[in-house]
Subunit: 155 residues, 2 copies
């Protein structure tokens, strides 16, 4: 059982659950100003038939709904994989204070790779970024998932 | 009345309706493979308390829901303003065939400015891009909205 006081453990748990549903195994947790978990989710792109249903987007939307505001000031997002450009820009738009992520994603990341969203003059809010937290666990989950996909691509 | 056969006119109409609700006036339309309008929306960030509720995201999600798939192959998105990095990456993730936009956005755009999402090696699908369509009308709407905000910032 993941400890509620360890957001990355919760996020990894959500990632494993996503893998079990046949989704790319990425999980995320949104932490409120006083440390409570406002939202937790895994990828739901296939289940929801929604190309924007990355774990980060789901927890941002759910936390904003719960707080009744699109501005998640003093909140933190914890996610198992470096966010893509869509999720990175959503983090900036939501004014999140901190982003913590697990594995780096040289192929699709938009924070430390590619679009490097937070480094652009067009980005009007930059969160504190802490990458590489429990990197190996998050990366192993993804590598295992894609290895299995190659062996048996059928659902 | 905007003509259903003129998607940018529909998008401009959605942008004007958004302004009337106190939202940043951006409107979007999603066109299916046979030219039918699958979804239309204006910004709903404030009304929905959702930082991701840009017009582009709303029409992508609605069209995917209607078609029952996260991959909007052979579909086009028409929007009054150059998309930000979030919306640009969502367009790539949705595998849209074509993006048509109105005004360029040097301050917040992610297609021709800033993150330039489609130009990165981390972007695995690049739509055809046509910018500057009815640019002045889309830009005038935005300039008018922000001018009014400065005069009277109260809702």
């Amino acid at each position: 059982m993941p400890d509620d006081r360890d957001p990355m453990a919760l996020a990894l748990s959500e990632a494993r659950a996503a893998a079990g549903r046949g989704e790319v195994p990425v999980g995320a947790v949104l932490i409120g100003p006083d440390g409570q978990v406002l939202a937790r989710a895994g990828n739901q792109v296939e289940a929801d038939a929604d190309p924007t249903a990355h774990a980060e987007m789901l927890v941002i939307r759910e936390a904003a709904r719960r707080l009744g505001t699109p501005r998640l000031v003093d909140c933190s997002l914890v996610v198992t994989l470096e966010p893509c450009a869509m999720c990175a820009q959503a983090i900036a738009l939501a004014r999140l204070k901190r982003l913590v992520f697990g594995a780096y994603d040289p192929k699709g990341g938009g924070v430390e790779h590619g679009a490097r969203v937070f480094e652009r003059a067009t980005c009007h809010h930059r969160p504190e970024v802490i990458g590489g937290v429990r990197e190996r666990e998050a990366g192993d989950l993804l590598r295992g998932f894609f290895r299995d996909c190659r062996v048996d691509p059928s659902p």
